[in-house]
Point group: C2
DNA sequence: CCGACATATAAGTACATGCTTATGGATTGG
DNA sequence: CCAATCCATAAGCATGTACTTATATGTCGG
C-alpha cells in the first residue's frame, strides 16, 4: 500500500490547520525530542496550561500526537504517522510539484550519507 | 544549497495556513493542470468571484501561486517552489519523522518506475 | 468612446480560533 | 485521608477568517 492511505480530505485539513499555528508547531517540535507531560511542556511557552492542553487536543485530533496516561500525569509524544496526510497531499500533487519532489529526494539521499 | 533555503517561520505559517482551507487547496489543484483566469477558476466553485480572488491573494502571499497579466485577464498558475517551506519543515523534523520520510522515499522511488 | 467584461478591494457579517480565568475530576504524597 | 498536583473542560472575550454584496479600476470590442 502506498504511503497515502485512504484519507478523507477532512483529515488533511485537520493536519494543515494544526500545523498552521506556530505555537502548535513548537509544541510538536518539543515532543519530537521525547514524550513530555503537559506541565513539562508548559515551561518555555508564554501561555497558560489550558492553552497547552487545547493545543495538544488540536494536535491529537489531527493525529499528530498520541498520549500515554500514567496516574495523574499524561505523557504526550509526536506520532510519526501523523504527517502521512501531508505526504499524501504532496504525492497527489506530484504532477506539478515533481521538480520540487526531485529536490526533496536529493535531500533524503544526502541524509542517508 | 539544500531544498530548505533560509525561510522565516512566518512563511511556513503562511503556507500551512493557505493550505488549511479546502477550497484553497482545490483552487491550487485546478491551477496544477495549467494556468487559469479568475473567471475560469470561478466555474466549479460555489463561491463568488471576490471569494476566489481572496483565496488567490492568500495563495499568492504564501508563494504558492504566481500570476501573469494579459490585458484585462489575469492568469494564475501554481508555483512549484511554493511548497519549499513545507518540505523544509518536514526536513527540519526529520529526526523524528525519519521513519515516515523513508516511506516517502519509497513512494518517490516508485514514481520513478 | 463607451458599455460590457475582468478583477480587485471595501465593508459588513457569521462563525472559528486562540487565549484567558475559573472550575471540576482524578490521583498522589505525606 | 486530604490537601496539593495534574490535567481537561467550560465560559467568555478579542481577533481572525471566509464569505457575501457593493463598488472601484482597468481593458477590450464594436
Amino acid at each position: 500500500m502506498s504511503v497515502m492511505e485512504i484519507q478523507p480530505a477532512v483529515i488533511e485539513t485537520e493536519v494543515f490547520r494544526a500545523l498552521a499555528d506556530p505555537t502548535r508547531r513548537a509544541v510538536l517540535e518539543r515532543l519530537g525530542n521525547g514524550e513530555q507531560t503537559v506541565t513539562e511542556l508548559r515551561s518555555g511557552f508564554a501561555v497558560s496550561q489550558p492553552a497547552i492542553s487545547q493545543h495538544l487536543a488540536a494536535l491529537r485530533r489531527a493525529g499528530l500526537v498520541s498520549e500515554r496516561r500514567a496516574g495523574r500525569h499524561v505523557y504526550y509524544r509526536a506520532d510519526p504517522a501523523g504527517i502521512a496526510p501531508l505526504i499524501g497531499w504532496i504525492e497527489r500533487y506530484q504532477s506539478f510539484w515533481r521538480e520540487r519532489m526531485d529536490r526533496l529526494k536529493d535531500v533524503l539521499q544526502e541524509m542517508d550519507e
